[in-house]
């Protein structure tokens, strides 16, 4: 499904995509979620930690996760069921989507100002230039 890549270490997970906003102060109110355009993706399995995933889900923005996953051609349920903490299978799948999929090359776009943040070598560049700060 995902191309295996020599960059074993590259990591920009959907967990990061779920918390990153546009860096410009003027975009507040319309700075999230960033639109994700992925050109190169990989996956790396990690040990299942249901407790951690359940706690992370307390702060996850589910619609943003749905949109981010969709950008990577991954489908997840439209809504998060209330009893997610007890559903191990769901937690395991959510962990894969949040932490095991990595974007190597791509772009992020602010929904408010359309500013592009590039992702190179698994690292998004959120640095603003002097005129933007």
């Amino acid at each position: 499904e995902y191309g295996t890549h020599t960059h074993k270490n590259t990591k920009m997970r959907l967990s990061a995509h779920n918390v990153l906003t546009c860096a410009k102060k003027s975009c507040i109110g319309s700075n999230f979620p960033l639109r994700l355009n992925a050109r190169e993706v990989t996956s790396e399995a990690s040990e299942f930690d249901g407790e951690f995933v359940a706690r992370f889900l307390e702060k996850v923005d589910w619609p943003a996760l749905v949109a981010g996953a969709a950008s990577l051609n991954v489908t997840i349920p439209d809504t998060l069921p209330d009893d997610y903490a007890d559903n191990e299978e769901l937690l395991a799948n959510v962990q894969k989507v949040l932490f095991d999929v990595h974007v190597i090359e791509g772009d992020l776009f602010c929904p408010g100002c359309d500013r592009k943040y590039n992702i190179r070598n698994g690292i998004p560049n959120m640095l603003l230039n002097e005129t933007e700060t």
Binding site: K11, V19, L20, E51, N125
Partner: protein, 332 residues
């Protein structure tokens, strides 16, 4: 003419790199890398590689990160989502990963981040100037650590950098993206009492409570400074510093002066006197006792009359007493 030339200069990365290298070659070695230029220019590929391979550097940064993580005071066995501010080559992140945390690291130097990548750093990384503020949603992180990064924000690397504004932006966004009750710990190298005051004032203004903690305050070599900030009252007390005689924390409301050498933990209060006291205590200087209320008028009429009488008794020529004696002069 001068202003037009400055505006027409390209503000691209090549120009910044050129200026940085020029500045670095002209500057003497003060022992403070932040004086040489911005972090991404100082930590270019060569420096970044040196940083990662120097076993002494690695050991120091690891130790600082371990202490900063300890000061986060997370429950035993708790695995959380931590922010690493100024994560550099991933040394501090490795400490977080070993403790079971997931983390999101920010650094200005792509060269340092590339080293982190090649060293298999487990966290997510992003290029960012901390002085811009953290581009993160509210109430996300269970904690934040920063190792040897904050002093960089006190430098103005170009004409548009105002340290106070950058510090405020960092502290405000850090406060916002921490969960209620979470902590941020910044280990840094304070250059002066003024820097400490600037930093602590900015942190206070953003809603943080907490204080400055200095381990081994009496050793110039071992001394390490940590800014311990609570986002919303966590209920936990200020941690104990290492290597100092235990003296109760400086309280800005107390009349008792603290002996600088033994006190190494100071709590914030909004009073500016307390901030100055904290800065002094952190540097090992004795803290001046703060005077409450108006200063007494020592040279009042009774005192003057008494002194004049003493002079007369000694046989010295003394002006006669009149209604003008010891009266407040309006001009001399």
């Amino acid at each position: 003419y001068q202003r037009r030339v400055r505006d027409s200069l390209p503000h691209n990365s090549q120009h910044r790199a050129f200026c940085g290298i020029l500045k670095m070659s002209l500057a003497g070695d003060s022992g403070r890398p932040e004086h040489k230029g911005p972090a991404d220019v100082v930590y270019n590929e060569t420096e970044a590689a040196k940083y990662a391979t120097s076993s002494r550097m690695v050991a120091i940064q690891r130790h600082l990160a371990e202490r900063a993580l300890e000061l986060l005071n997370l429950p035993k066995g708790f695995r959380g989502y931590i922010a690493d501010l100024g994560c550099g080559s991933g040394l501090s992140g490795e400490v977080l990963s070993e403790a079971g945390h997931r983390w999101l690291g920010f650094d200005l130097s792509t060269a340092m981040l590339d080293v982190a990548r090649s060293e298999n750093a487990e966290g997510d990384l992003a290029v960012l100037d901390l002085g811009q503020g953290l581009p993160v949603r509210n109430a996300i992180f269970d904690g934040a650590i920063s190792v040897s990064a904050l002093q960089w924000l006190c430098q103005a690397d170009n004409s548009s950098h105002i340290p106070r504004r950058r510090l405020m932006r960092l502290f405000q966004t850090t406060y916002n993206c921490l969960r209620r009750g979470a902590r941020a710990v910044f280990q840094f190298y304070p250059e002066s009492g003024e820097h400490i005051e600037l930093i602590t004032t900015c942190a206070l203004r953003c809603g943080f409570t907490g204080g400055l903690l200095v381990d081994y305050p009496n050793s110039a070599k071992a001394k390490k400074t940590y800014l311990v900030l609570n986002a919303g009252h966590s209920g936990a007390a200020m941690p104990k510093a290492l290597g100092a005689a235990t003296r109760a924390d400086v309280d800005g409301d107390s009349e008792e002066p603290s002996r600088g050498a033994s006190s190494s933990s100071s709590i914030f209060t909004p009073s500016s006197n307390a901030v100055a006291a904290a800065a002094a205590a952190a540097q090992g200087r004795p803290v001046r006792r703060q005077r409450r209320g108006k200063k007494k008028n020592l040279k009042n009429l009774d005192w003057v009359l008494k002194k004049k009488e003493q002079r007369r008794m000694r046989g010295e020529k003394t002006a006669r007493d009149s209604k003008y004696t010891a009266r407040r002069r309006t001009h001399w």
